[in-house]
């Protein structure tokens, strides 16, 4: 019952937000902005830039809210808008160019069972180049398929795969470095 009520409430709030009800818009913003800033932060190292991107993405959310079909979760819909905005920001601002690299081998993480803090994980991802980072985030965290990533980034599917393997390899190295650093400090 509670879930149904919450769902109905969300739909009502969305309908109000479509009618430019600022209160409803603020409710949606305050509900999703912390998570969405986190999503943007995955792609953009600078928190302020991530926040700027998040704001523009929320603008798109509210201007296109009437197009939301209530198929799938509202959060998922907002999240996709956030990711698209982050990707376009990175590609425009940083002019990321993907080198067509079909030569790759399936990179896999070594036996890493140690627990990392979110800050460590973010640090590791931040250390990746933007191209690697995007593919890694989209594939590992968002669960996109290579075909989807290829169309989203305008690259070949093979390039997406090679980018991911490079990203994983680099992460592996960074994790071992981090571990060594932690061990060294211990």
């Amino acid at each position: 019952m509670k879930v149904i009520n919450l769902y109905q409430q969300e739909n009502e709030i969305i309908e109000q937000a479509v009618e430019h009800n600022r209160h409803a818009q603020h409710l949606i913003y305050s509900k999703f902005s912390p998570k969405m800033l986190s999503v943007c932060r995955q792609y953009i190292k600078d928190v302020h830039q991530a926040e700027d991107v998040m704001i523009t993405a929320f603008m798109k959310v509210f201007t296109n809210l009437k197009n939301f079909k209530h198929e799938g979760s509202f959060e998922g819909w907002i999240r996709r808008i956030m990711i698209n905005e982050c990707i376009s920001f990175i590609r425009v601002q940083k002019k990321v160019k993907f080198i067509d690299d079909e030569n790759y081998f399936e990179e896999s993480f070594n036996n890493i069972e140690s627990q990392f803090s979110v800050e460590d994980i973010q640090f590791l991802i931040d250390s990746l180049p933007d191209g690697y980072k995007m593919v890694f985030n989209l594939y590992v965290i968002e669960g996109y398929k290579h075909q989807e990533i290829a169309t989203l980034l305008g690259i070949n599917e093979g390039t997406s795969k090679s980018q991911l393997s490079h990203a994983k390899k680099m992460l592996q190295n960074n994790i071992s470095k981090l571990k060594n650093y932690e061990n060294g400090t211990e």
Binding site: Y29, S33, I55, M59, Q122
Partner: protein, 235 residues
Amino acid sequence: MKMAQNKLETQIKEKLNSREINPTEKAWDRLDAMLSVAEQKPKKQSFKFIGIAASVLLFLSIGFYNFNKNKTEIQTIENVVVNEAEKEATQENSSINQNNTQNQKKINKIINQKTQQLVQINQNQKVNISNPLINKDTEIEHQNTEVIAQKEMPKISFQEKIVQQKTVSVNVDDLLASVEKPTKKETKSTIKVNYNSLLSQVDGELDRTFRQKVIDKIAKNYQEVKVAIANRNQE
């Protein structure tokens, strides 16, 4: 191995997805400002739309006005024709009136002649020395004759008979004196009578001629306008 991979990947996924970063308070204010700007834009667009619609209407109306202007010009020409025709008609009227007045003058002359005849008749009657009473009577008689004269001129002979029947002796000078003044009245009154009767007689003829002439003129001018329009269209 694979489990470890998945473990690390799932760990990264879970930890990042469960993370929340609170945006700064200014972030909402900025979004609020952007939203209000975005909401004003559609209004401006609607104003623009109204402006475009208004300008289109304006141009259409100007075009329509210019298109109809030709028609109005034609109408004015027709009006002028009618007015000219009316003027001519009025001129004719005035000429007819002149004729009327001339006729009236002629009639007045006839009346004067008749009154002179009356006087002569009276003179012919052997009249006794004047009495003031008789004078009054004669005046009354004259007035009667005036009235009768006003109504129907051809029946003056009958009036004469009446006068003769009454056989009153009148002083010639008095008669003359009394007659001179009424004759003036007669002229005035006869004008009225003749004017009305003449008008009533002439009105019918006038109307006919006026209508015919106006219709002719309009027909002529209509043909001229038709030709002019045809020429213009050909050009």
